[in-house]
């Protein structure tokens, strides 16, 4: 996944700090995925399930939804990280 990294790890950081950073990053990713899946599912899939497969309209909708979500997420992340004071 070619996502923009919010903050690269600076040199001279201890193992525990790196581990906790990785843990935070992982939690962030999991939260992002869950929210993404939930938002796009609520938006795109009709609640009256008529068949098990995703039909073509739903596929298109999900493609567009995920693409927009990811792009906005990247932009917001960049803006947030650009506004931070230098570490």
């Amino acid at each position: 996944m070619a996502a923009p990294v919010p903050n690269p790890i600076p040199v001279g950081i201890s193992k525990e700090q790196a581990f906790s950073m990785a843990q935070t990053e992982m939690e962030y990713r999991v939260e992002l995925f869950n929210k993404l899946a939930q938002t796009c599912f609520n938006k795109c899939v009709d609640k009256r399930y008529k068949e098990a497969e995703l039909n073509m309209g739903e596929n298109s909708c999900i493609d567009r939804c995920v693409s927009k979500y990811w792009q906005v997420n990247g932009m917001v992340g960049q803006l947030l990280s650009a506004g931070k004071p230098p570490v």
Partner: protein, 171 residues
Amino acid sequence: MADSSAEPTGASSGSVGSDENATQIQPIRMPTTEEIRAQDVWNNCGVRAVTSGVMGGGLGLMMGLFLGALDNPIMHDTMTARQQFVFTAKQMGQRSWNSCKTFAIMGLVFSAAECCIEQRRAKHDTINTAFAGCVTGGSMSARGGPKAACIGCAGFATFSVLIEKFFDRHT
């Protein structure tokens, strides 16, 4: 994300009690790579259109053979049995080939139109079917002028919506 399983509770096969009589709940499976590729192939508008065209052609062939065999005049006086057979076979072939072409084009245009409209709208409705039917009917009756095209559009749209409702009546 090819399966729509964003429900909060995952189903497990060890569910409590009363499912012995009802359908056994299967655990949630992620689709395999082959399934995803197959879905991608089937979601392509060109593939769908060609498949529908071929199926429509086959249907037209069968129908043309059947109907062509039914209403051919049999002239006992002027031709021998073998000549009658040859003549009937040629008529049947001609009729079924024409019918095959008509149905193939109909299936191709309808399927391509419905696929394109649905991909653009990103919604699954009967409006897609109605518009695709209108395009098909209009394009096939376009030779008779604009009025014939309008009538063909309306007629085929109604027909395709009715057929779709008929096939989805149990859901």
